[in-house]
C-alpha cells in the first residue's frame, strides 16, 4: 500500500505533459537523494509491517508463512548456483534433505538443541556442494543438469541405506519436546510456531543480505561473468573452476539451512516423500517463476510453491499443482524468461530509474526492495 502511493507521483507528474516523447521518459532519481531514501524507507516499513502482520496470525497461517520463508531460503540458495552462475541444478532437494537430516539426526540421536545444528548443516552442505560442484569444472549445461538430477534421485536411497541413523523408509520423527525453543529465546514449548517464525524471518533476512552483498562484490561479478561467457571470464582472470565449485558450495549450504528449518517445522522426515526429484523440480520452478538472478524472485517463487499446491489440492487427485507448475514453467520460458520479479522490474524501469550519485555504477535493483516484499 505504502509503496504504491509512493510509486504514484512519477506517473501523476508525467501524465499532464502533452508531448509523446516526454511521456515515455521515466522519472529519474539519484541514489541516496531524498526521494530514493524515501522509497527505501517506505519499502522497509512495508517489510516491517508484513513481518508484524505475520507474527500476529493464527497457528496454521503462520506455519504456512514459515514454510514460505523456508522455501524462500532454499530457493535463494539455488539462485546462487542456477540464477547467478548459470549452473542448472535439478538436485537441490538433496541439499535440502541433507540439511533436514543433519538437524533430525543430531536432535534425535545425539540430543542436540535443534537451533545449534544449523551451523553444522551449513558446513556439511557446503562441503557436499563442493564435491557435487566438482564435475562442473569440466562439464556444463545439460551434462551438469544430468549429474545433479542423478544426485537428487540417489539421495533418498542413501538415506534409506543408513537406516540406523536416519530411520530409513519409516522416516525419522522428532518428538515435540525435543523441539523446545532454547531458554534464552523466552518462548515456551507451546509457542514453538512463533519461535520458528521469528527464526525464519531473521535467517531469511540475513541470508538475503549476505547473497545481496556477495552478488555485488567482486566475487558476484565473477559468478555472472562465468555464466555469461566462460571463456571471456577466464581470459579476464576469473578462476572458473574455483568460482563454480564455490558457487555450488555456497548454494548447497544456504539450501541446507532451509532444510534445517524444514526439519524443525515438520518434525518428521521421510526422504521418499519430502526430498524427491519432484521436490527439486519444485525449487527450480519457484526460482524460474520468481525470476532467476533476481534478489526477490525466490520469495515470489516460494509463495507460488507453497500456496499453489495448497489451493489446488482438491483438484485432480492432488496432482493439479504438478500439471500447473509444468505448464507455467514452459509458459514462462516462452513469455517471460526473466520471471515475475524480472518482468516487474523491467516494467518499473519505464517509470523509474535510479542513477548513481557518484561515478561508480550500481545496479538499480536496490530500490525495488519495497514493492516486492509483501
Amino acid at each position: 500500500m505504502t509503496a504504491a502511493s509512493v510509486n504514484d507521483p512519477p506517473r501523476a507528474k508525467e501524465s499532464p505533459v502533452p508531448q509523446p516523447e516526454r511521456d515515455r521518459r521515466p522519472w529519474v532519481i539519484r541514489r541516496n537523494s531524498a526521494p530514493h531514501l524515501g522509497l527505501l524507507a517506505a519499502g522497509l516499513i512495508v517489510v516491517a509491517l508484513a513481518i508484524a502482520w505475520g507474527a500476529g496470525l493464527g497457528q496454521f497461517n503462520q506455519g504456512q508463512l514459515s514454510r514460505v520463508m523456508i522455501y524462500a531460503i532454499a530457493i535463494v540458495g539455488l539462485n546462487v548456483a542456477t540464477g547467478y552462475t548459470g549452473l542448472v541444478s535439478v538436485g537441490h532437494s538433496a541439499f535440502f534433505g541433507l540439511g533436514a537430516y543433519t538437524t533430525g539426526v543430531l536432535v534425535v540421536r545425539y540430543g542436540w538443541q535443534a537451533e545449534y545444528t544449523i551451523p553444522v548443516a551449513l558446513v556439511l552442505c557446503f562441503l557436499v556442494g563442493l564435491i557435487v560442484g566438482l564435475p562442473a569444472i569440466r562439464i556444463r549445461g545439460l551434462y551438469l543438469a544430468m549429474v545433479t538430477l542423478a544426485f537428487g534421485i540417489a539421495f533418498p536411497e542413501v538415506v534409506a541405506r543408513f537406516e540406523n541413523l536416519t530411520g530409513g523408509a519409516q522416516g525419522l520423527t522428532i518428538r515435540l519436546r525435543l523441539l523446545r525453543p532454547p531458554d534464552w529465546s523466552g518462548f515456551a514449548l507451546s509457542q514453538r510456531g512463533q519461535w520458528l517464525y521469528w527464526m525464519c524471518v531473521v535467517l531469511l533476512l540475513v541470508i538475503m543480505l549476505v547473497v545481496h552483498n556477495i552478488v555485488r562484490s567482486r566475487y558476484g561479478l565473477a559468478l555472472v561473468a562465468t555464466r555469461d561467457n566462460e571463456i571471456a571470464a577466464s581470459a579476464s582472470g576469473v578462476n572458473i573452476a574455483l568460482v563454480k565449485m564455490m558457487a555450488f558450495g555456497v548454494s548447497g549450504a544456504i539450501t541446507g539451512v532451509g532444510g534445517c528449518l524444514f526439519a524443525i517445522y515438520l518434525g518428521s522426515l521421510v526422504a521418499h516423500d519430502s526430498f524427491t526429484l519432484l521436490n527439486a523440480v519444485a525449487l527450480l520452478i519457484g526460482l524460474v517463476i520468481g525470476g532467476q538472478a533476481t534478489r526477490f524472485g525466490p520469495i515470489i517463487g516460494a509463495l507460488a510453491v507453497v500456496y499453489i499446491p495448497y489451493y489446488t489440492s482438491d483438484i485432480g487427485q492432488g496432482q493439479a499443482a504438478a500439471v500447473l507448475f509444468g505448464v507455467v514453467l514452459i509458459a514462462i520460458v516462452f513469455v517471460a524468461p526473466e520471471g515475475v520479479v524480472g518482468g516487474f522490474f523491467r516494467l518499473l524501469r519505464k517509470f523509474l530509474v535510479v542513477v548513481p550519485s557518484t561515478p561508480p555504477p550500481v545496479p538499480p535493483a536496490e530500490k525495488g526492495r519495497s514493492r516486492v516484499q509483501p
Partner: protein, 299 residues
C-alpha cells in the same frame, strides 16, 4: 555357479531394457544435441495409456501399438511446438522446457489414473515354470524375449541409420544442420521425426520394462530410476553412438547386478548411487563416453 548365472541373466535382462531407453536418448541427442529430460515421463505416460487400454479389454500387443503411436505423436509435437522455438536461445531454456514436460506429464498421469500402484500385464510368458535350467541357473523365457527384442530393435535402428535415405538425412543433420539444409534436407522434419522415433522407442521399452524391473508395478515414480540408469548407460557408451548405447546399457545392467550380488557391504540398496557415480566418473574422466565421437565443448 547357479547364483552367478541367475545374476548374469537378471543383469542382461535389465541391461537390455536400459539399452532401449538409452537408445531413445541417443536418437534425440544425435539429431538435436539435446538430452530429453522428459524421456522417462514420456514412457511413463504411454505405459499408463497401455495399461488403461488393457483394463478396457484391449490385447496388450494392440495396447502397445497404441502407446507407440501416441508416443510418436507426443515426440513430434513436443519437438515442433516446444523445443524448436527455444532451441536457438539457450541450452537452459531447452532444459527448463524438458523439466516442465517432466512435471506436467507426471502430474497428468496421476491426475488421470491416480497415484496408486497399478499391476501391469506381462507381454512375455513369465509363469513360475517358464524357464530353462542352465548350469543351475534359471533363464526365464521373458528374459530371452527381452534380449531378443532388444537385439531386433538395435538391428532395426542400425539399418535405419545406415541403410535408409531417412537415416542418411538424420546423420547429415546431426553432423552439420546448415550443410544438410543447403543440400535439400528438410532439417525441421528430420528433427521432429527423430523425436517421434525416440518417443515411440521409449513407449515400446516402457511396456517391456515396467513388469520386468522392480518394483514390477506401474506408479508415478517408475521411470525416475530407469531414466537415471539409461542416462548412465548412454553417457558411458557415448551419447551419439548406437553401439555405445548397447555396450553401455549392458555394462550398467550387468555391473549393477553383480555389484549388488557380491558387494554385500553396500547392502544391495545403493543402485542409483552407483549410477550417479558412473555418470560423474564418465563425465569427469571421459566426457565423450567410450564410443562417442562428438567433442564436448570445454573451457
Amino acid at each position: 555357479m547357479g547364483i552367478f548365472l541367475d545374476r548374469l541373466f537378471a543383469g542382461t535382462t535389465a541391461g537390455s531394457l536400459y539399452v532401449l531407453i538409452a537408445l531413445a536418448l541417443v536418437v534425440v541427442f544425435r539429431s538435436s544435441s539435446t538430452i530429453n529430460f522428459a524421456q522417462g515421463e514420456f514412457a511413463l505416460f504411454t505405459s499408463y495409456l497401455a495399461w488403461w487400454c488393457t483394463t478396457k479389454g484391449v490385447p496388450l500387443l494392440v495396447a502397445m501399438a497404441v502407446a507407440m503411436v501416441v508416443g510418436f505423436g507426443m515426440g513430434v509435437l513436443t519437438e515442433r511446438l516446444l523445443i524448436r522455438p527455444v532451441r536457438r536461445r539457450s541450452e537452459t531454456a531447452v532444459l527448463i522446457v524438458g523439466l516442465g514436460m517432466f512435471t506436467a506429464l507426471n502430474g497428468a498421469d496421476g491426475w488421470i489414473w491416480g497415484p496408486d500402484d497399478k499391476i501391469f500385464p506381462h507381454l512375455l510368458p513369465n509363469g513360475v515354470d517358464d524357464y530353462l535350467e542352465i548350469g543351475g541357473g534359471r533363464l526365464h523365457y521373458d528374459s530371452i524375449g527381452v534380449v531378443l527384442l532388444m537385439v531386433a530393435v538395435v538391428a532395426a535402428m542400425t539399418l535405419l541409420f545406415n541403410r535408409t535415405p531417412l537415416g542418411l538425412q538424420m546423420r547429415a543433420v546431426a553432423t552439420n544442420p546448415e550443410s544438410a539444409a543447403l543440400s535439400g534436407v528438410r532439417v525441421g522434419r528430420v528433427l521432429s521425426l527423430s523425436w517421434g522415433i525416440s518417443s515411440a522407442l521409449g513407449a515400446f521399452a516402457g511396456v517391456l520394462a515396467v513388469p520386468a524391473l522392480p518394483p514390477n508395478q506401474l506408479n508415478l515414480a517408475s521411470f525416475f530410476p530407469i531414466l537415471i540408469f539409461a542416462a548412465a548407460a548412454a553417457l558411458l557408451g557415448g551419447l551419439d553412438s548406437v553401439k555405445g548405447a548397447v555396450i553401455g546399457g549392458l555394462s550398467v545392467g550387468l555391473g549393477l547386478s553383480m555389484i549388488n550380488g557380491y558387494a554385500t557391504f553396500l547392502g544391495g540398496s545403493l543402485q542409483l548411487t552407483l549410477a550417479f557415480v558412473i555418470i560423474v566418473l564418465v563425465l569427469v574422466v571421459r566426457p565423450t563416453g567410450i564410443f562417442g565421437a562428438r567433442r564436448i565443448e570445454r573451457v
